[in-house]
């Protein structure tokens, strides 16, 4: 990975960064690296810190040589997989943690939405906690007094504002946290996917608040692996991979590079079929064994990452070991959170396939082919159901939960949610002059 990464960084000269670090820049990170010292035993850390004996730690570089140059008023997105170093980067930029080498220069007051509700005391009321939280964020007493009514209003807590915070629901807690964090009027706002909280109404309010902030000339650094949100909000995107900035530039380009990367990596080394079975429950009488379940992409290659709209095939290989009356193979697709997306088999169809007279020793494959995968971005998994329908109620022959996990990426990002819906759109404008104007978009 390191060969590709060293080639790419765009504006990576430290001299350049230094010369532009004037008042135009909100954030300048100049060759920032962060090394964590990993100790095997806490005692070793203690001895090291007291300078007794030699160093006993192992180094872990969470970030290496990051150059970042964020203009005032810009909205910059940081994307990358889990563990890529995004959160470390935020911590360094917000000044919570200090870089091992290099320097971070931040012009203006920073607040980060990583800290929603940090420092709230459960026994105190919302109002009291607002005072203390603002004080922690560095506000002066009169400033706090001035801002408190706004915070109360934004949080929509009503009379609850006078109740101890320990009585709050988690949603109320986060609402208060968000209200405090954004009412501080920072110059720079660091957002760490905190917005997946609260109900739709409040989330919309949060987004509005963030937009207002950006329009008012605030600088936003938005960390997420929700590509859609990043593309929507940011003009400039930075891609972090294994602690390095491997790509930065216009949102579209970097987001595509990221998707390519995820796909390439996900499909790496999948040349042979994954063995069925594993850590998840499976049961059945066992006359027919499911030997493997494979996912196959449009090129006929095994794959684990698919794009929305691609051909998608689930291939089950079986071996018959005993006599069965009427076996039926089925496939269930679930989203990673357990939501049941779809279930089907080869019998419940207008033209059912009947399998009868299977003899021991026979092997074969059953394929379910989806011409155009309607799933949207996310992680999904497959369970296979092999049941004998020759009984009043079907009897399990080989039922396997969660055999294969796969990911769907959605380059186009034209729809949100779980599935694509083919749809036509029609607008009929009745203009003030009496004219009628019809617009149409077909799928």
């Amino acid at each position: 990975m390191s060969e590709t990464s060293s080639a790419v960084p765009a504006n990576a000269s430290s001299a350049a960064a230094a010369s532009r670090s004037g008042s135009e820049q909100a954030i300048v990170a100049d060759g920032v690296s962060k090394c964590y010292r990993l100790y095997q035993k806490p005692m070793h850390r203690l001895l090291d810190s007291l300078h007794i004996g030699g160093p006993r730690y192992r180094e872990f570089w969470a970030l290496r040589e990051v150059y970042l140059d964020v203009r005032k008023g810009a909205t910059v997105g940081v994307i990358g997989e889990n563990g890529a170093g995004k959160s470390t980067l935020l911590k360094l930029l917000s000044g919570v943690s200090s870089p091992t080498t290099g320097s971070v220069q931040v012009n203006g007051r920073v607040t980060s939405l990583i800290e929603l509700g940090a420092g709230f005391h459960p026994e105190f009321s919302g109002i009291e906690n607002i005072g203390l939280a603002c004080s922690i964020l560095g506000m002066l007493p009169d400033e706090i007094a001035e801002k408190t009514p706004q915070i109360v209003e934004f949080s929509e807590l009503g009379d609850f504002i006078h109740r101890p915070v320990k009585d709050y629901s988690s949603g109320m807690y986060v609402r208060l946290g968000f209200a405090v964090a954004t009412c501080v009027e920072p110059d720079i706002l660091l957002v760490d996917e905190a917005l997946s909280v609260g109900d739709e109404h409040f989330r919309g309010k949060c987004m509005r608040r963030l937009n207002e902030f950006a329009e008012g000339g605030g600088t936003t650094l938005f960390v997420s692996h929700d590509l859609g949100a990043v593309k929507q909000m940011c003009e400039h995107v930075v891609l972090v991979h294994e602690g390095r900035v491997v790509e930065q530039g216009p949102a579209e380009r970097v987001a595509d590079a990221y998707l390519k990367r995820v796909k390439m990596r996900g499909n790496d080394g999948l040349s042979f079929a994954a063995r069925a079975g594993g850590d998840y429950p499976q049961w059945g009488s066992g006359e027919i064994a499911v030997e493997s379940v494979e996912l196959i992409g449009p090129g006929g290659q095994a794959a684990r990452v698919f794009s929305s709209g691609e051909q998608f095939t689930v291939q089950t290989r079986y071996r018959v070991q005993g006599a069965v009356r009427e076996p039926v193979f089925g496939v269930g697709i679930y989203r990673s959170d357990g939501t049941y997306v779809n279930g089907s088999n080869h019998e419940w169809r207008a033209q059912p396939i009947q399998l009868t007279g299977l003899e021991p020793g026979e092997t074969g494959t059953v394929e379910m082919i989806v011409g155009s995968l309607p799933l949207l971005q996310g992680e999904y998994y497959i369970s296979t159901f092999l049941y004998d329908h020759g009984h009043p109620t079907p009897v399990a022959i080989d039922h396997r939960e969660r055999v294969v996990v796969f990911q769907v990426v959605d380059e186009l990002h034209r729809q949100h949610g779980m599935v694509t819906l083919e749809s036509d759109w029609r607008v009929r404008r009745e203009l003030a002059g009496g004219e009628v104007c019809e617009l149409e978009s077909q799928s």
């Binding site: 850390r45 919570v96 009291e128 922690i136």
Partner: protein, 288 residues
């Protein structure tokens, strides 16, 4: 130490907020409120009076038998001497215990916000000292009721002792909290050490009994001797608490040589604790 002090002063508004919150949180949700500051030491007093005075028959000598002890050993006076010691010790021990864990407890803040962690030991210290001040008038009230001594000019030593006690506690807590951030065992060790230290400090018995331990143990068991007087020579809390007892109960100036020793101990504690805390301060967000 100076850089820590500057930072604490710069963040004094926050420090004040923390102290106020802490004082409030002691009594939020409790019906008796601030009375607990008084009730707690008084109940302790009865327990220790029972054990040491009635069961173990510890006596604060007869007049004149101990040149450093000005009292007459009456029960009322014994109670007040103990109470003065309990108040000071409780404030100290509470801060030591909470302070040791303060970085770990506030990890949430230290890891997520740019937070001046150096205000934690001072705020805990100030809070406990304020709490101690609430209990202190009872001793003076007792002195007026049980003896013919009257509070006088010597009370001017009170602010001095308060500042010294606070500084000593802060220095020690800087050291312990930093160590505890690295090795959590420190907190448990402190739990045990506090008890040992309390009983090694003449709070419930006169210092004279320790100083004389050479003779008293030498008697009954033949050649078995256990001189313990050195404990008093290395225990800063003895120097402090002896001063509190003299000032509050006997309305005398403290023994200045003990005060001087305590000043030295305080300076040492501040320098060492401050240095260890400052050196590791930057790594706290990564450590916790």
């Amino acid at each position: 130490m100076l850089s820590l002090l500057r930072s604490v002063l710069r963040n004094r508004a926050l420090l004040r907020d923390f102290v106020v919150r802490d004082l409030k949180s002691r009594y939020v949700g409790s019906a008796m409120g601030f009375f607990w500051s008084v009730i707690f030491p008084v109940v302790n007093l009865f327990v220790y009076m029972f054990v040491f005075r009635l069961v173990l028959k510890a006596r604060w000598g007869d007049p004149g038998s101990d040149p450093t002890y000005p009292g007459d050993g009456s029960p009322g006076e014994t109670a007040l001497v103990m109470l003065a010691g309990i108040l000071a010790w409780a404030a100290f021990a509470e801060t030591m215990s909470r302070g040791t864990n303060s970085l770990v407890e506030n990890a949430n803040l230290i890891k997520k916000v740019v937070f001046p962690s150096e205000i934690l030991p001072p705020y805990l210290t100030i809070s406990s000292i304020v709490n101690m001040l609430i209990g202190m008038p009872i001793v003076l009230f007792g002195v007026i009721v049980f003896s013919d001594r009257r509070p006088g000019l010597e009370l001017l030593a009170v602010p001095l002792l308060l500042v010294l006690q606070a500084a000593f506690t802060i220095g020690l807590t800087y050291l312990l909290s930093a160590l505890n951030a690295m090795v959590r065992d420190v907190y448990h060790i402190i739990g045990v050490a506090t008890t040992v230290w309390m009983f090694a400090t003449p709070i419930f018995y006169p210092a004279k009994m320790v100083r004389d331990s050479y003779q008293s143990l030498g008697g009954g068991f033949g050649s078995f001797m256990l001189p313990l007087g050195w404990i008093l020579e290395i225990n800063p809390m003895h120097w402090l608490i002896d001063s509190w007892q003299r000032v509050l109960v006997f309305q005398l100036w403290p023994q200045w040589d003990l005060v001087f020793r305590f000043v030295l101990a305080t300076v040492l504690m501040l320098v060492v604790g401050g240095a260890v805390f400052r050196d590791n301060r930057k790594s706290f967000p990564d450590l916790l």
